[in-house]
Protein backbone atom coordinates (compact mmCIF):
# COMPACT_ATOMS: atom_id res chain seq x y z
CA UNK A 1 0.00 0.00 0.00
CA UNK A 2 1.15 3.53 -0.70
CA UNK A 3 2.18 4.66 2.72
CA UNK A 4 4.20 7.55 1.28
CA UNK A 5 1.25 9.57 0.07
CA UNK A 6 -1.77 8.68 2.09
CA UNK A 7 -4.13 11.22 3.59
CA UNK A 8 -4.45 11.14 7.35
CA UNK A 9 -7.51 9.70 9.04
CA UNK A 10 -9.41 12.94 8.47
CA UNK A 11 -8.97 15.13 5.41
CA UNK A 12 -11.32 17.34 3.42
CA UNK A 13 -13.04 14.55 1.49
CA UNK A 14 -13.77 12.66 4.70
CA UNK A 15 -14.93 15.91 6.31
CA UNK A 16 -17.36 16.52 3.46
CA UNK A 17 -18.81 13.03 3.74
CA UNK A 18 -18.97 13.38 7.52
CA UNK A 19 -21.08 16.52 7.00
CA UNK A 20 -23.37 14.69 4.54
CA UNK A 21 -23.76 11.84 7.00
CA UNK A 22 -24.60 14.21 9.86
CA UNK A 23 -27.29 15.92 7.74
CA UNK A 24 -28.74 12.56 6.65
CA UNK A 25 -28.81 11.34 10.27
CA UNK A 26 -30.56 14.52 11.40
CA UNK A 27 -33.16 14.22 8.62
CA UNK A 28 -33.91 10.59 9.48
CA UNK A 29 -34.19 11.40 13.19
CA UNK A 30 -36.51 14.37 12.70
CA UNK A 31 -38.58 12.84 9.89
CA UNK A 32 -38.90 9.22 10.98
CA UNK A 33 -38.30 9.33 14.73
CA UNK A 34 -35.86 7.58 17.01
CA UNK A 35 -37.25 4.09 16.30
CA UNK A 36 -36.26 4.21 12.63
CA UNK A 37 -32.97 5.90 13.56
CA UNK A 38 -32.03 3.04 15.89
CA UNK A 39 -33.17 0.45 13.36
CA UNK A 40 -30.80 1.83 10.71
CA UNK A 41 -28.04 2.21 13.28
CA UNK A 42 -28.29 -1.42 14.37
CA UNK A 43 -28.38 -2.78 10.80
CA UNK A 44 -25.33 -0.63 10.00
CA UNK A 45 -23.60 -1.95 13.12
CA UNK A 46 -24.20 -5.52 11.93
CA UNK A 47 -22.83 -4.69 8.47
CA UNK A 48 -19.83 -3.01 10.10
CA UNK A 49 -19.11 -6.08 12.24
CA UNK A 50 -19.24 -8.38 9.22
CA UNK A 51 -16.89 -6.12 7.26
CA UNK A 52 -14.17 -5.90 9.91
CA UNK A 53 -12.67 -9.36 9.32
CA UNK A 54 -12.70 -8.69 5.56
CA UNK A 55 -10.88 -5.40 5.96
CA UNK A 56 -8.26 -6.94 8.24
CA UNK A 57 -7.78 -9.84 5.80
CA UNK A 58 -7.50 -7.44 2.87
CA UNK A 59 -4.87 -5.33 4.61
CA UNK A 60 -2.88 -8.44 5.56
CA UNK A 61 -3.03 -9.83 2.01
CA UNK A 62 -1.83 -6.47 0.65
CA UNK A 63 0.99 -6.26 3.19
CA UNK A 64 2.19 -9.85 2.72
CA UNK A 65 2.01 -9.64 -1.07
CA UNK A 66 4.18 -6.53 -1.11
CA UNK A 67 6.75 -8.33 1.09
CA UNK A 68 6.67 -11.75 -0.54
CA UNK A 69 6.13 -11.11 -4.22
CA UNK A 70 9.52 -10.44 -5.82
CA UNK A 71 9.63 -7.22 -7.79
CA UNK A 72 10.91 -9.12 -10.83
CA UNK A 73 7.77 -11.24 -10.85
CA UNK A 74 5.55 -8.14 -10.71
CA UNK A 75 7.60 -6.59 -13.49
CA UNK A 76 7.48 -9.64 -15.70
CA UNK A 77 3.76 -10.35 -15.28
CA UNK A 78 2.17 -6.94 -14.93
CA UNK A 79 5.08 -4.51 -15.40
CA UNK A 80 5.35 -1.73 -17.93
CA UNK A 81 6.61 -4.12 -20.59
CA UNK A 82 3.92 -6.73 -19.97
CA UNK A 83 1.72 -5.61 -22.88
CA UNK A 84 -1.67 -7.16 -23.46
CA UNK A 85 -0.68 -10.24 -21.43
CA UNK A 86 -0.29 -8.11 -18.29
CA UNK A 87 -3.74 -6.62 -18.79
CA UNK A 88 -5.24 -10.08 -19.36
CA UNK A 89 -3.55 -11.51 -16.24
CA UNK A 90 -4.78 -8.55 -14.17
CA UNK A 91 -8.32 -8.93 -15.54
CA UNK A 92 -8.46 -12.59 -14.57
CA UNK A 93 -6.99 -11.84 -11.14
CA UNK A 94 -9.58 -9.12 -10.52
CA UNK A 95 -12.43 -11.47 -11.38
CA UNK A 96 -11.27 -14.24 -9.03
CA UNK A 97 -9.86 -12.29 -6.07
CA UNK A 98 -12.33 -12.74 -3.21
CA UNK A 99 -13.68 -10.09 -0.89
CA UNK A 100 -14.90 -6.51 -1.13
CA UNK A 101 -13.25 -3.15 -1.76
CA UNK A 102 -11.14 -3.80 1.31
CA UNK A 103 -9.30 -6.58 -0.46
CA UNK A 104 -8.86 -5.23 -3.93
CA UNK A 105 -7.65 -1.72 -3.12
CA UNK A 106 -4.85 -2.71 -0.70
CA UNK A 107 -3.62 -5.34 -3.16
CA UNK A 108 -3.81 -2.93 -6.11
CA UNK A 109 -2.07 -0.25 -4.04
CA UNK A 110 0.71 -2.67 -3.11
CA UNK A 111 1.19 -3.67 -6.76
CA UNK A 112 1.22 -0.03 -7.85
CA UNK A 113 4.02 0.80 -5.43
CA UNK A 114 5.94 -2.28 -6.59
CA UNK A 115 6.03 -1.04 -10.17
CA UNK A 116 3.03 -2.67 -11.81
CA UNK A 117 1.84 -1.09 -15.03
CA UNK A 118 -1.05 1.45 -14.92
CA UNK A 119 -3.01 -0.50 -17.49
CA UNK A 120 -2.75 -3.69 -15.46
CA UNK A 121 -3.82 -1.99 -12.22
CA UNK A 122 -6.78 -0.31 -13.92
CA UNK A 123 -7.76 -3.64 -15.50
CA UNK A 124 -7.51 -5.35 -12.09
CA UNK A 125 -9.85 -2.90 -10.36
CA UNK A 126 -12.25 -2.64 -13.30
CA UNK A 127 -12.45 -6.39 -13.55
CA UNK A 128 -13.13 -6.73 -9.84
CA UNK A 129 -15.81 -4.02 -10.05
CA UNK A 130 -17.64 -5.48 -13.04
CA UNK A 131 -16.90 -9.21 -13.01
CA UNK A 132 -16.12 -9.97 -9.35
CA UNK A 133 -18.16 -13.00 -8.44
CA UNK A 134 -18.60 -12.27 -4.76
CA UNK A 135 -20.63 -9.11 -5.32
CA UNK A 136 -22.52 -10.60 -8.26
CA UNK A 137 -23.50 -13.74 -6.36
CA UNK A 138 -24.22 -12.25 -2.96
CA UNK A 139 -25.87 -8.96 -3.94
CA UNK A 140 -26.76 -8.74 -7.61
CA UNK A 141 -28.25 -12.18 -8.22
CA UNK A 142 -31.02 -11.96 -5.60
CA UNK A 143 -32.25 -8.70 -7.17
CA UNK A 144 -31.89 -9.29 -10.89
CA UNK A 145 -31.99 -13.06 -11.34
CA UNK A 146 -29.69 -15.37 -13.26
CA UNK A 147 -30.63 -14.25 -16.78
CA UNK A 148 -29.95 -10.54 -16.33
CA UNK A 149 -26.80 -10.97 -14.21
CA UNK A 150 -25.42 -13.66 -16.52
CA UNK A 151 -25.76 -11.45 -19.59
CA UNK A 152 -24.58 -8.35 -17.74
CA UNK A 153 -21.38 -10.11 -16.68
CA UNK A 154 -20.82 -11.84 -20.02
CA UNK A 155 -21.16 -8.58 -21.96
CA UNK A 156 -18.80 -6.85 -19.51
CA UNK A 157 -15.94 -9.33 -20.08
CA UNK A 158 -14.11 -7.10 -22.64
CA UNK A 159 -14.49 -3.93 -20.56
CA UNK A 160 -11.53 -4.34 -18.13
CA UNK A 161 -9.25 -4.91 -21.12
CA UNK A 162 -10.59 -1.75 -22.80
CA UNK A 163 -10.04 0.28 -19.62
CA UNK A 164 -6.53 -1.14 -19.20
CA UNK A 165 -5.60 -0.36 -22.81
CA UNK A 166 -7.00 3.19 -22.46
CA UNK A 167 -5.14 3.80 -19.19
CA UNK A 168 -1.71 3.22 -20.72
CA UNK A 169 -1.67 6.07 -23.29
CA UNK A 170 -3.38 8.40 -20.79
CA UNK A 171 -0.74 7.69 -18.15
CA UNK A 172 2.01 8.06 -20.74
CA UNK A 173 0.55 11.36 -21.98
CA UNK A 174 0.66 12.61 -18.41
CA UNK A 175 4.31 11.57 -18.20
CA UNK A 176 3.83 9.04 -15.42
CA UNK A 177 6.14 6.11 -14.81
CA UNK A 178 5.08 2.84 -13.18
CA UNK A 179 6.20 2.38 -9.59
CA UNK A 180 6.32 6.05 -8.64
CA UNK A 181 3.93 6.72 -5.79
Amino acid sequence: MASSRRPGPLDWSTGLILLLVAVAMAIVYVRDGSGKFLEILSSDAWLFATMLPNLLAGCLVGAFISLLLPREVVNRWVGSESGLTGILIASVAGAILPGGPFTIYPVAGALAVMGADFGAIVALITSWSLLGYSRALVWELPFFGVDFVGWRVLLAVPLPIVAGLLARPIGRALGWKAGEP
Binding site: M1, L16, G62, P101, I121, P181
Partner: protein, 164 residues
Protein backbone atom coordinates in the same frame (compact mmCIF):
# COMPACT_ATOMS: atom_id res chain seq x y z
CA UNK B 1 -22.10 -17.81 0.26
CA UNK B 2 -20.78 -14.74 2.05
CA UNK B 3 -19.21 -17.05 4.63
CA UNK B 4 -17.50 -19.02 1.87
CA UNK B 5 -15.99 -15.84 0.41
CA UNK B 6 -14.71 -14.72 3.82
CA UNK B 7 -13.27 -18.17 4.50
CA UNK B 8 -11.53 -18.24 1.12
CA UNK B 9 -10.04 -14.82 1.86
CA UNK B 10 -8.65 -16.00 5.20
CA UNK B 11 -7.27 -19.15 3.60
CA UNK B 12 -5.24 -16.83 1.35
CA UNK B 13 -4.13 -14.79 4.38
CA UNK B 14 -3.03 -17.94 6.21
CA UNK B 15 -1.23 -19.29 3.14
CA UNK B 16 0.65 -16.02 2.66
CA UNK B 17 1.43 -15.90 6.39
CA UNK B 18 2.82 -19.45 6.29
CA UNK B 19 5.03 -18.64 3.31
CA UNK B 20 6.30 -15.56 5.16
CA UNK B 21 6.99 -17.41 8.42
CA UNK B 22 8.86 -20.16 6.54
CA UNK B 23 11.19 -17.55 5.09
CA UNK B 24 11.79 -15.80 8.39
CA UNK B 25 10.01 -14.81 11.55
CA UNK B 26 11.00 -11.19 11.07
CA UNK B 27 9.38 -11.12 7.63
CA UNK B 28 6.15 -12.50 9.06
CA UNK B 29 6.20 -9.99 11.90
CA UNK B 30 6.77 -7.00 9.63
CA UNK B 31 4.04 -8.15 7.23
CA UNK B 32 1.59 -8.67 10.06
CA UNK B 33 2.48 -5.31 11.55
CA UNK B 34 2.14 -3.44 8.23
CA UNK B 35 -1.26 -5.05 7.61
CA UNK B 36 -2.48 -4.25 11.12
CA UNK B 37 -1.34 -0.63 10.87
CA UNK B 38 -3.20 -0.22 7.55
CA UNK B 39 -6.27 -1.79 9.11
CA UNK B 40 -6.25 0.62 12.05
CA UNK B 41 -5.66 3.58 9.75
CA UNK B 42 -8.67 2.69 7.61
CA UNK B 43 -10.98 1.94 10.53
CA UNK B 44 -12.25 5.53 11.05
CA UNK B 45 -13.18 5.81 7.38
CA UNK B 46 -14.88 2.44 7.37
CA UNK B 47 -16.90 3.50 10.40
CA UNK B 48 -18.03 6.72 8.73
CA UNK B 49 -18.66 4.95 5.42
CA UNK B 50 -20.75 2.09 6.74
CA UNK B 51 -22.81 4.03 9.25
CA UNK B 52 -23.16 6.95 6.86
CA UNK B 53 -24.27 4.90 3.85
CA UNK B 54 -27.26 3.51 5.70
CA UNK B 55 -28.56 6.94 6.62
CA UNK B 56 -27.77 8.59 3.28
CA UNK B 57 -29.51 5.75 1.44
CA UNK B 58 -32.56 6.19 3.69
CA UNK B 59 -32.77 9.92 2.94
CA UNK B 60 -32.13 9.56 -0.78
CA UNK B 61 -35.23 9.51 -3.00
CA UNK B 62 -34.71 6.08 -4.56
CA UNK B 63 -37.92 6.22 -6.63
CA UNK B 64 -36.76 9.48 -8.16
CA UNK B 65 -33.48 7.97 -9.34
CA UNK B 66 -35.34 4.96 -10.74
CA UNK B 67 -37.58 7.40 -12.63
CA UNK B 68 -34.54 8.99 -14.31
CA UNK B 69 -33.85 5.70 -15.98
CA UNK B 70 -36.52 5.70 -18.65
CA UNK B 71 -37.07 3.57 -21.74
CA UNK B 72 -34.73 5.82 -23.75
CA UNK B 73 -31.42 4.08 -24.30
CA UNK B 74 -29.97 6.76 -26.57
CA UNK B 75 -26.85 8.71 -25.73
CA UNK B 76 -28.67 11.21 -23.48
CA UNK B 77 -30.48 8.43 -21.63
CA UNK B 78 -27.24 6.53 -21.10
CA UNK B 79 -25.51 9.71 -19.92
CA UNK B 80 -28.24 10.30 -17.33
CA UNK B 81 -28.09 6.65 -16.25
CA UNK B 82 -24.30 6.85 -15.83
CA UNK B 83 -24.49 10.08 -13.81
CA UNK B 84 -27.19 8.58 -11.61
CA UNK B 85 -24.97 5.55 -11.04
CA UNK B 86 -22.02 7.69 -9.96
CA UNK B 87 -24.20 9.67 -7.56
CA UNK B 88 -25.90 6.67 -5.95
CA UNK B 89 -24.52 6.24 -2.44
CA UNK B 90 -24.84 3.32 -0.08
CA UNK B 91 -23.71 -0.25 0.20
CA UNK B 92 -23.99 -2.99 -2.41
CA UNK B 93 -27.77 -3.35 -2.00
CA UNK B 94 -28.75 0.18 -2.95
CA UNK B 95 -27.54 0.37 -6.54
CA UNK B 96 -28.99 -3.03 -7.43
CA UNK B 97 -32.29 -2.26 -5.68
CA UNK B 98 -32.67 0.96 -7.68
CA UNK B 99 -31.71 -0.82 -10.91
CA UNK B 100 -34.38 -3.47 -10.37
CA UNK B 101 -36.98 -0.83 -9.46
CA UNK B 102 -36.17 1.01 -12.70
CA UNK B 103 -36.37 -2.19 -14.74
CA UNK B 104 -39.80 -2.95 -13.26
CA UNK B 105 -41.07 0.55 -14.00
CA UNK B 106 -40.20 0.27 -17.68
CA UNK B 107 -36.55 1.31 -18.05
CA UNK B 108 -34.73 -0.37 -20.92
CA UNK B 109 -32.19 -3.08 -20.11
CA UNK B 110 -29.21 -1.27 -21.75
CA UNK B 111 -29.89 1.77 -19.59
CA UNK B 112 -30.08 -0.25 -16.41
CA UNK B 113 -26.83 -1.96 -17.45
CA UNK B 114 -25.23 1.47 -17.94
CA UNK B 115 -26.51 2.51 -14.51
CA UNK B 116 -25.23 -0.60 -12.71
CA UNK B 117 -21.89 -0.39 -14.57
CA UNK B 118 -21.42 3.30 -13.72
CA UNK B 119 -22.36 2.66 -10.13
CA UNK B 120 -19.90 -0.25 -9.87
CA UNK B 121 -17.12 1.86 -11.39
CA UNK B 122 -17.64 5.40 -10.10
CA UNK B 123 -19.88 5.48 -7.01
CA UNK B 124 -18.43 8.65 -5.54
CA UNK B 125 -18.57 7.60 -1.91
CA UNK B 126 -16.53 4.49 -2.74
CA UNK B 127 -13.91 6.52 -4.60
CA UNK B 128 -13.54 9.07 -1.82
CA UNK B 129 -13.90 6.92 1.28
CA UNK B 130 -12.16 3.75 0.24
CA UNK B 131 -10.24 3.94 -2.98
CA UNK B 132 -8.35 7.20 -2.38
CA UNK B 133 -7.10 6.30 1.11
CA UNK B 134 -5.85 2.89 -0.03
CA UNK B 135 -4.21 3.73 -3.34
CA UNK B 136 -1.92 6.38 -4.85
CA UNK B 137 -4.28 9.23 -5.78
CA UNK B 138 -3.18 9.60 -9.38
CA UNK B 139 -3.87 5.94 -10.14
CA UNK B 140 -7.37 6.43 -8.78
CA UNK B 141 -7.99 9.37 -11.14
CA UNK B 142 -6.36 7.56 -14.04
CA UNK B 143 -8.69 4.64 -13.42
CA UNK B 144 -11.73 6.92 -13.29
CA UNK B 145 -10.77 8.65 -16.56
CA UNK B 146 -9.96 5.40 -18.36
CA UNK B 147 -13.30 3.90 -17.25
CA UNK B 148 -15.46 6.83 -18.38
CA UNK B 149 -16.46 5.21 -21.69
CA UNK B 150 -17.31 1.85 -20.12
CA UNK B 151 -20.99 2.44 -19.14
CA UNK B 152 -21.68 3.61 -22.71
CA UNK B 153 -19.78 0.67 -24.13
CA UNK B 154 -21.70 -1.72 -21.87
CA UNK B 155 -25.06 -0.26 -22.92
CA UNK B 156 -24.04 -0.34 -26.56
CA UNK B 157 -22.85 -3.96 -26.44
CA UNK B 158 -26.12 -4.91 -24.68
CA UNK B 159 -28.11 -3.16 -27.40
CA UNK B 160 -26.14 -4.90 -30.16
CA UNK B 161 -26.56 -8.26 -28.50
CA UNK B 162 -30.24 -7.62 -27.85
CA UNK B 163 -29.71 -9.09 -24.37
CA UNK B 164 -30.67 -9.37 -21.59
Amino acid sequence: MTVAVVLFLWVIVIALGLVAIMRSRALFRSGFKAGAVDFLRLLPRLTIGVFGSGFIAEVMPQELIALWLGPDSGLAGTLIASAAGALTPGGPMIGFAIGVAALKSGASAPQVIAYVTAWALFALHRVFLWELPMMPARIVWLRVIASLPLPFLAAWIAMLAGRP
